[in-house]
């Protein structure tokens, strides 16, 4: 027995030792390999220079598709792309704590932390000296890249197109095309219209393909709560998308949006939907994968989501021949008084972008690379791909090849595999409204292309309504005016500041309380809502409103829009 025990212990011990050693050797392996890379770069000047690039919105991908190879050929630069694993928010703070920065960083809202830590360099002089392409691209919008009124330097470039036309929008809700067809193409403008439509269809078809029909599904179990629960509430109330804030564009007065009575009205309606069994009971617990698979099955009648979030489901539906189960964006608001802000022009948002780290050995090269990405040549390459392979020039005009066009519409992996369209966001981009030196649109996503790319069902529905594009039933851009403050989501908020802490607490609270109120008994809704407002006031939300108002005013002053 003793012997047996010792053998067991010996084997356990051996196992831990093996694990321990394995862990160690792993580390050393990666270390040596990266050193090797460095060594080869320095020794052979013909080899492309490898720049490390952290993309906060990135994914697992190597820089070896045809477009990437072409970029390397033109610039002599290869990118080694890193991304936050599992949507981890802590990458940037950890990067700062270790002092180990990649050459290029797309930090999104964490840029403020990098600036504070001295992790990124000012680009003003570089732009002045050799940023010809960038200067031409941004023109008088260059001010919008500036950091703050106290530190008006430029730390990053890129992310959004400078000349963006709004030919596509996701609306407040998206509804299955089949619902519209079945009901004889009704007009859906208000929450009541919307509810009536899906109720009628649901009663007709309680099951789709043998599975229970889901009238409305949301995804409120993770950060997408903000996308599918928080944002649609604001859209329904005719508030432009400023994240968790409602901003008066004239006065700059900013309010935490869940304090507004309109929002309460929306959630009260949602609470009613839940009570009537029209809301997917798993809306706040299922994972993203489950949600997408439900949508892909074609049994979800409507969603309150953005098209970029459901791309996989859309492609799967088209691939399965279920085109009538794809979605149409609706300009729904609480009632006729509010205007859907689906086509709101926020102007070039500035704010976020790609920065160059202060520890990079190749700052000049990195900047030249970014500047090249803003050139006409680069924009054509990244938007259209390679001439002769992805597009042809017919009568002096660029036309996507048929199979590329097909894949672009149906295959969610197309950008990732071919690189076409993959290197636009978050790099500097001209935007889909821009034209090149010969007067052609710089992106394949011109309005005509979007319309041409509608699936058969979409074409039929749009025609039935007597429209050309979905945007036609939204209040036009000109009516809504251009935002004077950009979008609050792009503001840089100092890390660890009072504003950040209060907002984080308020967001955590509202996500919970609103979810509970929506799922609760309608008789308790008012009481739970009032309790939430009280809790918000207790955490000094007024102070956050004041601080945020000041931020908006600063931005308007910096941009010269006030």
């Amino acid at each position: 027995m003793k012997r047996k025990l010792s053998i067991l212990l010996l084997s356990l011990l051996f196992m831990f030792a093996a694990l321990f050693l394995a862990a160690c050797s792993d580390d050393s392996d990666t270390d040596t390999s990266s050193e090797d890379d460095d060594a080869t770069e320095e020794n052979e000047s013909d080899e492309p220079l490898t720049l490390t690039f952290f993309n906060a919105d990135g994914e697992e991908k190597s820089f070896d598709d045809p477009v990437a190879q072409k970029i390397t050929e033109e610039t002599g630069i290869k990118l080694e792309m890193d991304y936050p694993v599992g949507g981890n928010d802590e990458s940037i703070p950890l990067m700062i704590a270790s002092g180990d920065y990649p050459d290029l960083i797309f930090a999104k809202g964490d840029i403020g932390k990098l600036i504070e830590a001295g992790g990124v360099i000012k680009l003003d002089e570089l732009i002045e000296e050799k940023g010809d392409n960038l200067k031409e691209l941004y023109g008088d919008q260059l001010d919008r890249l500036r950091n703050s009124i106290d530190d008006p330097s430029i730390y990053n470039v890129g992310t959004y197109g400078v000349e963006e036309a709004r030919w596509e929008t996701s609306g407040t809700f998206q509804v299955q095309l089949d619902v519209l067809r079945e009901l004889g193409y009704p007009e859906i403008r208000t929450l009541d219209d919307f509810e009536d439509a899906i109720t009628e269809y649901y009663e007709k078809y309680p099951e789709i393909d043998g599975q229970k029909t889901i009238p409305l599904s949301l995804l409120g179990s993770d950060w997408r709560w903000l996308i599918t629960v928080g944002n649609p509430a604001g859209f329904a109330a005719g508030i432009p998308d400023d994240g968790q804030w409602a901003i008066n564009d004239e006065t700059g007065e900013t309010t935490y949006k869940f304090l507004l009575p309109e929002l309460k009205e929306y959630f009260k309606w949602l609470n009613g939907m839940n009570d009537k069994g029209l809301l997917d009971p798993e809306s706040f617990t299922h994972t993203y994968d489950t949600y997408i698979s439900k949508l892909s099955s074609g049994r979800v009648l409507s969603i309150a989501d953005q098209s970029w979030n459901i791309g996989d489901a859309d492609a799967a539906l088209v691939a399965d021949g279920k085109e009538w189960k794809t979605y149409a964006p609706l300009p729904v608001t609480i009632n006729e008084e509010y205007k859907s802000q689906g086509l709101k022009d926020y102007g070039f948002a500035g704010g976020w972008g790609i920065s160059i780290s202060s520890t990079s050995e190749y700052q000049e090269e990195a900047f030249e690379f970014l500047d090249w990405m803003a050139s006409e040549e680069a924009q054509i390459l990244t938007n259209w791909g390679i001439e002769g392979e992805n597009y042809d020039v017919v009568d002096g005009k660029r036309v996507l090849q048929e199979d590329d066009r097909e894949r672009k519409n149906t295959d969610a992996d197309y950008p990732k595999e071919t690189g076409v369209g993959y290197y636009l966001y978050p790099f500097p981009q001209w935007g889909n409204g821009a034209v090149d030196s010969s007067g052609q649109p710089i992106t394949p996503d011109s309005e005509q292309n979007i319309i041409d790319n509608f699936n058969e069902a979409e074409k039929e529905v749009v025609a039935e309504y007597g429209m050309e594009n979905w945007t036609d039933w939204f209040p036009p851009e000109e009516d809504l005016g251009m935002s004077n403050h950009g979008a609050a989501a792009n503001y840089t908020i100092e890390s660890g500041s009072e504003l950040e802490i209060i907002q984080q607490k308020a967001d955590d609270l509202t996500e919970q309380r609103i979810t509970q109120a929506v799922l609760g008994d309608p008789a308790d809704f008012d009481a739970s809502w009032d309790a939430m407002i009280e809790e918000l006031e207790a955490m000094d939300i007024e102070k956050a409103n004041e601080l945020m108002t000041q931020k908006t005013l600063d931005v308007m002053e910096l941009w010269g829009t006030k």
Partner: protein
């Protein structure tokens, strides 16, 4: 044998559950030490003993070094909790903040909620984790058909190697309104309509504990099985002669024999009560149960390092360490009083 035991003994606090390794070894080691006692007392005796055991010291040396480098030196970072730490300047070049971060922490209602959840889920996990592992080990120990026993054991500890990400997805899918558990409950008439388990804040602690028990029971049972294997077979034979049934043998021989192991493991686990991590809670949680899923580590992540508040995060870390040390001291004292195996 004693060499191996010693190496195991001096291997301190490797992460995960290897610390239980110390336990079955303890009695053997001390008795051996007794035998080796040098005849002459005093300094000479000490060095003689030292040189006799030099192989043992050499073997433990790397682990002591490891402990110092990875466990003691980082404690110097605690100084951050008393500063307004900014990473761009060095650790000596900071503004001092005194106890500000601790005051912020203790004035924060969210922190108390996190503490309550951490201790709640910690205690549930400890109680059910220990009970299930002991019961499982006892049952497995009674299986006489060796192949079956080995298979069962292997299968039962496999979930330990499955990542929490996957386990959480399995649990959420099984417990969803259209999941297998609800189908079973509705079909057998226990429930009228499906219950969305993941949307019940009051059930969240239970779900986490159940998932934890499912995942770790087999693994935790290994150490108890090892201890049971060390029980002298003569005791069982004597009991059989006296007419004790299998149940009696379990109750009067197996359990008392492994009691020291249980107590030592319990003490170590209680010390870790507050270090329950956050993976389970983060992966299983959602906005409805968020209030019950907020644990200290998650709070430290979201409101500490996630907001760049290194000092605040460090203050939370110090608080956790202090609580751990207090818990261990209390339990160890208790074990000492009742005269059972203890850690130190």
């Amino acid at each position: 044998m004693s060499r191996i035991n010693n190496a195991a003994e001096s291997q301190p606090n490797l992460p995960e559950s290897n610390s239980p390794l110390q336990t079955p070894v303890k009695p053997g080691f001390s008795s051996r030490k007794g035998k080796k006692r040098a005849p002459k007392p005093g300094n000479k005796g000490f060095f003689q003993r030292l040189s006799k055991q030099k192989a043992l010291f050499l073997m433990s040396f790397p682990f002591v070094i490891w402990l110092i480098i990875f466990k003691y030196i980082p404690v110097a970072g605690w100084v951050m909790a008393f500063q307004d730490y900014k990473p761009q300047s060095g650790i000596f070049d900071q503004e001092w903040a005194g106890l500000k971060h601790f005051k912020d922490l203790f004035n924060e209602p969210m922190f108390y909620r996190a503490l309550e959840n951490t201790l709640g889920m910690g205690i549930l996990g400890l109680v059910f984790g220990t009970l299930s592992a002991i019961v499982f080990a006892l049952l497995l120990n009674e299986v006489r058909f060796l192949t079956l026993k080995k298979w069962t054991q292997t299968i039962s500890y496999l979930p330990h190697f499955v990542s929490w990400v996957i386990v959480a997805n399995i649990v959420i899918t099984m417990l969803s309104p259209e999941g297998i558990i609800n189908n079973l409950l509705v079909d057998t008439g226990i429930l009228d309509k499906p219950l969305n388990f993941m949307a019940q804040p009051d059930m969240f602690w239970g779900v986490v504990t159940a998932a934890d028990v499912w995942k770790e029971t087999g693994w935790n049972a290994i150490i108890y099985l090892a201890a049971m294997a060390g029980v002298d077979p003569q005791l069982y034979e004597a009991a059989k002669v006296d007419g004790a049934s299998r149940w009696r043998q379990m109750w009067h021989i197996t359990l008392p024999s492994i009691r020291p192991v249980i107590i030592v493991l319990l003490i170590l686990n209680i010390g870790n009560l507050i270090n329950i991590g956050f993976e389970k809670q983060m992966l299983l949680g959602n906005n409805i149960v968020a209030e019950k899923a907020l644990v200290i580590d998650l709070y430290a992540l979201d409101y500490g390092i996630g907001m760049f508040r290194y000092s605040f995060g460090t203050a939370i870390g110090i608080f956790k360490s202090v609580i751990s040390v207090i818990l261990i001291l209390i339990c160890n004292g208790f074990a000492k009083r009742i005269g059972e195996g203890r850690v130190f």
